[in-house]
């Protein structure tokens, strides 16, 4: 059970949150200009990083706001949280083989 520091409410248990997958995937403004492959990439493909990963969470059982989390997917260490639309803060990028 992760302890997630919601930027608006403070640290809360994981079961108050919903997961939103990879962060900073921007919905294309004109999807019709994308090839089938490019669109499929946007809709279906996510990075599967072992290590530092930028992802989205929503505090569903709390303030209901979305925000970004930087999490080491191997250790589950939460390296930073920041608001939607913010530039990601600098953290040590953890990588593993």
């Amino acid at each position: 059970m992760l302890l997630i520091p919601c930027p608006y409410c403070g640290a809360r248990a994981e079961n108050e949150f919903g997961y939103g997958g990879e962060a900073h995937k921007v919905r294309p403004e004109t999807p019709e200009n994308l090839s089938d492959g490019q669109w499929a990439d946007y809709v279906f493909m996510q990075k599967n990083t072992k290590g530092t990963y930028h992802e989205r969470w929503v505090h569903s059982q709390g303030c209901r706001r979305w925000f970004n989390v930087i999490r080491d997917t191997l250790t589950n260490e939460i390296q930073a949280v920041y608001e939607m639309g913010e530039t990601p803060p600098e953290v040590d990028t953890k990588t593993y083989l």
Binding site: M1, D36, A40, T75, M84
Partner: protein, 1002 residues
């Protein structure tokens, strides 16, 4: 004779409190403070079970949680518990217990014939033998399951209740032995909030079973004093009978506290167990170590136990596990067990030592006490039916691989063995801390921590009481400091013995007169009957990874999860493969450390508390009307309203007919409602729904279809334009929460520039949908300020006014295909409105109908239900709704609709089905084929999504999704059912009734 093997003094038992209990049908006695195991030993009972596969007689191997053999059925009736370790059961007045794996009795066990055929039961036996012919497995499985079963589950509901509790701690200390107590003292004195847990009824851990001293007094006295000091601290919580069984992310620790299992009378108002979920800033693991058996020939007879177990029975419970003992050891520490047994009056026939040159302080003390030490010797054979009575010992070659010379025979009824110690690293490993192999103790110890935890004492590979105490103290101080406290300087050091259990010699497999597998059995895993020969066989057959060896042989599985077997198995694999253990790796430790009752996981969240229940304001009326209810999401919805003597079928036919012929009324309160406001709300709806919204004027409603970005239908419903920049969206009953989340996600993450505000208002309204040819007449009677004429109140509009004397918003929309009005009032007026409608509708024979009739009516019209006709793989085109997808604007999911797969003409598409026999009601979910074969496989072309008997059509009908179905109207498909029955159907349009929509627009 009662308690013949009870020592006359000593032990942590209360001799004034005699306890009667029943074991295997016999009445026996023990004392308060006994475990079931120690009480049985006091009565000379050593045969306590039969092994899993061979049904070999088994006795106690251990005295704690690692016990693999003594599995008991405790209690009777609804409270019976299966497969409990006798070593973990506290004795109480009237306890009944019996062994689990023996029939008809543990002494005369019929399953023991398996021993004679043991050559037929090698590892992988089941896979090899019973998989041919394939179809016969079902027969074999039945026989095997009944032969292999352990205890019996109760056949009545659990009469107990269970609690859950959340807690926070600055420092959680798992284990209240010397290291844990020292850690808790250090942390507690700093002011940190400490939770100290121990699985035992009293704190003290290993000190309870030892005669070691701390600071010049008995270890038990030191422990009592430490606990007294801790109890006096407000910031320290001590939980006994509480096992820390799971270590999860971010220092989330699961504890199981046992509250009533040890009581003779179970109080009604106390939960049986309490499940604690603790978030700890810092964790100190002080979980001790588990002694390792030696793997030698026929090492499983009753009376052969771990040296520390024998020592514990003598010291802690004052029982004699035998009259004449042999110590069989590879290390110095085990000699203390021999000394303690000797002090208790047990004769020590010899100490058989695998070491060539036994040395060390405890060895020397034993030698000085006159114990005969056979150096460089091995036990090569054991004898005795229900209890060991004789062993053979022989000298070994210098490398310990074989025997060197003939040996001797020793009479004994107890063999105390010790192969060294395995740190209990389970929780560290569960926390994903890494392990390393420590060759000094030939076992795994914590390497580095991943979470905020540290190990102290034996679980950290530190042996020797002085070092254990010092390490506990240091860990407690460090944890408190890391949690933000400032512990004072330690006042001096604990004074205690400094020796660990080494020097030792590591021989994973003890030689005997015959090669492994050719005489006797060298057990590695006692609970699963896995022998050294089984491991060798698995390796010969190519299962070389430890994970494969584990699964193929079942080593380390079962209720003890390999607490005594895992490292021995690794040692044997490592020798066979000639690879160092550190290169083999270890199998993964997973929670729970010991089995956890399902009831504890559920806690109070069972039965009616499993989920919240949502009821409409009209619920009490439905109940009085005798409605049967259906769960839709969390809602209780009337399913149908049976009259006396009616079946569900009868009721639904009657309700459907009434709605089509005169007037029906449905409680539609449960539809999700989202209030949408803001200057950009029209633009927002335009992006979220497939169809256009910019032209929708106040007072009008529109049906909308919502897709996921993948182009699949996600929800549908009617949205009303309440005013400029103000909309009320209706969602499906079950989809309301998901739809709101979907809308919020897009607003917050993709289009933050849109000014739109969403409010869920589902609970604010109550809705009655009146449907049928007389709906308008009834509405006219109930309202004074709404003009209900078709011209003034056309289809797909709404009006606000008063109905039944209260404010109402009436929408002229229809999910039944009939002339229909949905009357929305404030929720608190719901029951009033409903009752007024029912009373006024009497002259039209108004008939309340439930969800089943609603389904029939809408299916006759070919209206879909999201989640029934759709399953996340259905597009608007599949449903024939391409006209709802605007080509003039962008919307969520649009781009996906032109992906190649979406344009495939052979996709499953919505159709109607008419069974050839009008009385055949297809089963929902039935698979459809175009060509029927005598048996599967047959090429499936689709499935039935909705199926009913229609009184209006006078026949059964169905909706289905069929490959290319939109171009197959008129063709035949077949639904092969169980048995020989096949239902033939004709594919039709999905609209069966009033295809022009004259009734609903009329």
């Amino acid at each position: 004779m009662a308690q013949r093997y009870r020592l006359s003094k000593g032990g942590r038992i209360d001799r004034d409190r005699l306890i009667d209990f029943t074991y295997d049908g016999r009445k026996l006695q023990g004392y308060q403070g006994d475990t079931l195991a120690s009480a049985l030993i006091a009565n000379g009972r050593h045969l306590v079970g039969r092994s899993f596969k061979y049904h070999r007689p088994r006795g106690f191997l251990a005295a704690g949680a690692e016990e693999p053999n003594a599995l008991m059925q405790i209690g009777t009736g609804a409270r019976t518990v299966a497969d409990v370790k006798a070593t973990q059961v506290e004795l109480y007045q009237g306890l009944t217990a019996s062994p689990v794996n023996a029939w008809p009795s543990v002494k005369y066990d019929l399953g023991a014939v398996n021993q004679a055929f043991s050559k037929l039961f090698p590892s992988g036996f089941y896979y090899k033998t019973f998989m041919w012919p394939h179809s016969a497995w079902h027969f074999y499985e039945r026989v095997i399951r009944s032969a292999a079963g352990l205890g019996k589950a109760p056949d009545k509901p659990d009469p107990d209740f269970y609690d859950k509790r959340y807690a926070h701690a600055d420092v959680l200390v798992a284990g209240a032995g010397p290291a844990g107590l020292a850690a808790a003292l250090a942390a507690g004195r700093s002011g940190a909030r400490v939770i100290l847990v121990d699985e035992q009824p009293e704190t003290g851990g290993s000190l309870l079973a030892s005669r070691d001293e701390i600071d010049g007094k008995p270890g038990t006295s030191w422990a009592e004093q430490a606990v007294a000091e801790l109890r006096a601290m407000d910031n320290v919580r001590i939980l006994t009978r509480t096992i820390a069984f799971g270590y999860y992310d971010h220092n989330w620790i699961a504890l199981l506290e046992s509250l009533t299992d040890h009581l003779a009378e179970k109080p009604d108002d106390v939960p049986r167990q309490r499940f604690w979920k603790v978030r700890a800033k810092q964790v100190v693991l002080a979980t001790g170590a588990i002694e390792r058996p030696l793997v030698f020939r026929d090492n499983d007879r009753p009376g052969i136990m771990l040296a520390n177990a024998a020592q514990s029975y003598v010291n802690r419970w004052a029982v004699k596990p035998g009259e004449t003992a042999v110590l069989f050891a590879n290390n110095d520490g085990a000699y203390q067990a021999a000394l303690d047994m000797k002090a208790a009056g047990i004769q020590i026939a010899a100490a058989v030592d695998l070491r060539q040159d036994p040395s060390g302080p405890r060895t020397e003390a034993a030698r000085a006490a006159g114990i005969d030490i056979l150096a460089g010797h091995a036990i090569t054979e054991t004898q005795g039916g229900h209890r060991v009575n004789r062993i053979k010992v022989a000298p070994m070659s210098e490398d310990g691989k074989q025997l060197a010379g003939s040996g001797q025979t020793l009479e004994c009824d107890l063999v105390a063995m010790s192969g060294g110690w395995n740190p209990t690293v389970h929780l560290h490993s569960q926390s994903r801390g890494k392990l390393r192999f420590d060759s000094d103790i030939a076992s795994f110890v914590p390497d580095f921590a991943v979470q905020a935890e540290r190990s102290a004492g034996a679980c950290n590979g530190t042996f020797g009481l002085a070092a254990v105490l010092a390490e506990g103290e240091t860990a407690g101080r460090a944890a408190a400091e890391a949690a933000g406290f400032s512990p004072a300087a330690a006042n001096g050091h604990y004074k205690a013995a400094s020796d660990g259990f080494t020097p030792a010699r590591w021989l994973w497999l003890t030689p005997s007169t015959k090669p492994v597998g050719h005489g006797g059995k060298h057990f590695v895993d006692f609970q699963n009957d896995v022998t050294a020969a089984d491991l060798h066989l698995a390796l010969r057959e190519g299962y070389t990874s430890v994970e494969h060896v584990k699964r193929y042989t079942t080593t380390g599985m079962g209720t003890d999860q390999g607490k005594t077997s895992n490292v021995n198995a690794l040692g044997i694999v490592s020798e066979y493969r000639e690879l160092p253990i550190e290169e083999l790796g270890v199998t993964t430790f997973r929670p729970p450390y010991t089995p956890v009752t399902f009831g504890a996981w559920g806690g109070r969240d069972v039965e009616e508390f499993f989920d919240p229940t949502r009821k409409t304001p009209m619920h009490s009326w439905h109940e009085r009307a005798g409605a049967a209810f259906e769960d839709v999401g969390l809602w209780k919805r009337p399913w149908y309203y049976p009259k006396a003597g009616e079946t569900m079928h009868d009721a639904v036919q009657r309700e459907s007919k009434a709605a089509r012929e005169s007037l029906g009324v449905l409680d539609a309160t449960t539809l999700g409602r989202i209030d949408i406001q803001g200057p950009d709300s029209g633009e927002f709806l335009n992006r979220i729904y497939t169809n256009g919204w910019k032209t929708l004027k106040p007072g009008f409603c529109r049906y909308g279809l919502m897709l996921g970005e993948d182009g699949m239908v996600r929800d549908d419903g009617v949205t009303a334009c309440l005013g400029e920049n103000h909309y009320l969206m209706h969602t499906t009953t079950g989809g309301a929460a998901d739809v709101l989340a979907h809308l919020e996600e897009y607003l917050q993450t993709e289009w933050p520039e849109l000014q739109v505000y969403l409010t869920t208002v589902t609970e604010q309204y109550a809705t009655a949908a009146i449907a049928g040819p007389n709906a308008r007449k009834l509405l006219a009677e109930l309202t004074g300020d709404i003009d209900v004429s078709p011209e003034a109140f056309p289809f797909m509009t709404f009006r606000e006014g008063h109905v039944a004397g209260v404010w109402a918003r009436v929408s002229r929309i229809s999910f039944s295909g009939e002339l229909s009005f949905e009357i929305n009032v404030e929720a608190h007026n719901g029951l009033h409105m409903w009752q007024t409608i029912i009373a006024a509708g009497e002259k039209y024979a108004i008939t309340p109908y439930g969800t089943e009739t609603m389904h029939v009516l809408r299916a006759e019209k070919g209206f879909i239900i999201v989640g029934q006709e759709t399953d996340g793989t259905v597009t608007p085109m599949d449903l024939g709704m391409e006209k709802l997808c605007s080509t003039k604007k962008e919307f969520v999911g649009r781009r996906s609709l032109t992906r190649p797969d979406m344009l495939d003409p052979n996709r499953k598409q919505l159709v109607g089905l008419l069974p050839d026999n009008p009385k055949d009601i297809l089963e929902e979910g039935a698979q459809l084929v175009e060509t029927v074969r005598p048996e599967p496989p047959m090429a499936m072309v689709g499935h039935v999504s909705s199926s009913y008997m229609s009184p209006t059509l006078g026949r059964a009908f169905a909706l289905a999704l069929i490959k290319g179905g939109q171009h197959k109207h008129g063709q035949k498909v077949y639904a092969p059912m169980t048995g020989d029955k096949t239902i033939a159907c004709t594919i039709t349009s999905p609209v069966f009734f009033d295809p022009e929509g004259e009734r609903l627009r009329g």
